[in-house]
Subunit: 413 residues, 2 copies
Amino acid sequence: MSGSVSPLAPKSFADMPAVRGVRMATAEAGIKYKNRTDVLLMVFDEPAAVAGVFTRSRCPSAPVDLCRQHLSGGAARAVVVNSGNANAFTGKKGKAATELTAKSAAEAVGCEPTEVFLASTGVIGEPLDATKFAGVLGEMTERAKGDFWLDAAKAIMTTDTYPKVATRSAKIGAVTVTINGIAKGAGMIAPDMATMLSFVVTDAAISPAALQILLSEGTGPSFNSVTVDSDTSTSDTLMLFATGAAAKDGQAPVSDAASPALSDFRAALNDLLKDLALQVVRDGEGARKMVAVTVEGAESDAAAKRIGLSIANSPLVKTAVAGEDANWGRVVMAVGKSGEMADRDRLAIWFGDVRVAVDGERDPSYSEDAASAVMKEEDITIRVEIGLGAGTATVYTCDLTKEYVEINGDYRS
Amino acid sequence: MSGSVSPLAPKSFADMPAVRGVRMATAEAGIKYKNRTDVLLMVFDEPAAVAGVFTRSRCPSAPVDLCRQHLSGGAARAVVVNSGNANAFTGKKGKAATELTAKSAAEAVGCEPTEVFLASTGVIGEPLDATKFAGVLGEMTERAKGDFWLDAAKAIMTTDTYPKVATRSAKIGAVTVTINGIAKGAGMIAPDMATMLSFVVTDAAISPAALQILLSEGTGPSFNSVTVDSDTSTSDTLMLFATGAAAKDGQAPVSDAASPALSDFRAALNDLLKDLALQVVRDGEGARKMVAVTVEGAESDAAAKRIGLSIANSPLVKTAVAGEDANWGRVVMAVGKSGEMADRDRLAIWFGDVRVAVDGERDPSYSEDAASAVMKEEDITIRVEIGLGAGTATVYTCDLTKEYVEINGDYRS
């Protein structure tokens, strides 16, 4: 963990209500860190519907493998998350560790191992001693409680400088449901999907299949639109659980993602996912500035996103932002290298509200002072008009600072 | 220009012989820098065969547009290169500037404007005042001389900390020919092609078509296999000129790139291109370590190269190298994110001669001390065995340091 909190951190944390049907506890299992909680247990007293999206890495972690397998059952009774060790690239030992952890959790909670989901974050390649969980999961199940979200978010932090929480409410029919989420992540953050671990729980009654569609659709403009360093983790995990407790209030269970009954829920979920994803960017390792890159007029939305990511991942753009330099030439460079169609002589570029380039050259009325003033802000918008079509996308990133190099040049020690 | 020379700089510069048929001069045109040469003129007294490869950016500079057009003529009489201003994203003014420069050079040398080639490097988006060249090209033509390669290399530097020169000789039949090259580049360096400007001249008699094939083939394992920061310039230019002066020694002109007569020449050219490309990496902005990434056992050579570039461009791998941390987990991450086929459980990874991972987990006999000793070297080799096929590639990069951030956070000021 970094010593000081990101200057881009939220000024206060959301007040997180309990969500009926889920209880949590944390413990110090001593995986890597001393004197801090490093394991989180989420318990669903009744089976919750579950959906998940995971890293597209070709070398996923052992817990990701396990979650993908267990997801087909559609039901969750427990989630065990640890920080300090990613249990990635740990071979047969890693698989054995996940199996032992699932078995331990199943015994503690009283369910099948296939109803247990796991996530691990931390160093890659170190064997994870899963026996450390076995000793604590039983008593954690006993004391798990609903009003525990901020503590849960803290337990899964690694290089994060602040815990990430968000909550929303939505109507399904006449019934109000709650959606709570936590996330962690600060480096090794890039689509697809943007790293991190994130766990979202609602008391709504929604089928696993519908839940999966909602989650997959919601990931595109949120977690898959943020990048800190273009590096994709082996462990990226985003899971959504629906406890169904709202059925007791009369919420009619929904099994069709396209049902009009879910429109408010979908909007609230998407908003929460974006909130969490942006909290991850704002905690980007060494970040001092948050950058929203909007691309308009590309050949397609997909093309716009690729151009946006080319800009957002460019070390030269990100160091220019760090240096508060309105260096739009580097934006042109990044558009050019994206591989997407672009016509140099139609490009226009804005920093904030200041148009710095138009028709393929510097804006005749460009004011260096006005552009520089934009760059001094904490939140910066870069907008690029490609001038070829109707494709648009917005992606989010942070600046590249000496502190990023420092944090990552000294991570394992 | 950075204040101090890269610690990875060559200990001495190659002794560059003259190449018959080309003369050079430099001048202080005052484009951006004060009290240093910033324009280079190369004069071919007889038309030289010419070949070129250029940036694949969708937003190329005006000089790149001009070179592509003039290349179809196959003949060169003059090259004008300036540093300090890239004449990129300068719209109609940029095109007018290239036309004026070509016209001025043609008048000075006594040739057609279509026999003039241009390259510009420096800030993007600033209009280039080409009238500054018009005043100096005439007298430069007068005093241009053959024994001038190191001075030529110095004139085209921007953030480079040392001039880049290389020379080779080769036999074509019984005749010995010379190949000389210069290059510049230190940042905004990535395929395709790796930035920079580079100009290579030989006195061999080779047709433009054959020359183009030799150059295109030679670029893959050299300039298109190096990356400093994954950012592709709008101005990348690599040109190869053959003055044909060796015909006077009895060298039979060659017009077929596949001719056995060119085998020694091809090898020498490829070696020179690689030499220059590696000099660019060794001058990577802020670089303190040079890294060769070799990928073996991939599905194809192309797949191996993409995996290699994924590793070489990863900020997390590059900061680990800067921190002398044998963090092979990040190499696994970069293999996984490349999108190429990989089987986690077949991967093996070496730092130098130390195998740190095998069969998808940490090498049982892995020694942290031995791996750490490797990381303290200036030149580091990372080797990855994918275990799926016969595809191999080697790419070259440097570490990512705080100095890179410093240099690029303050470039325009």
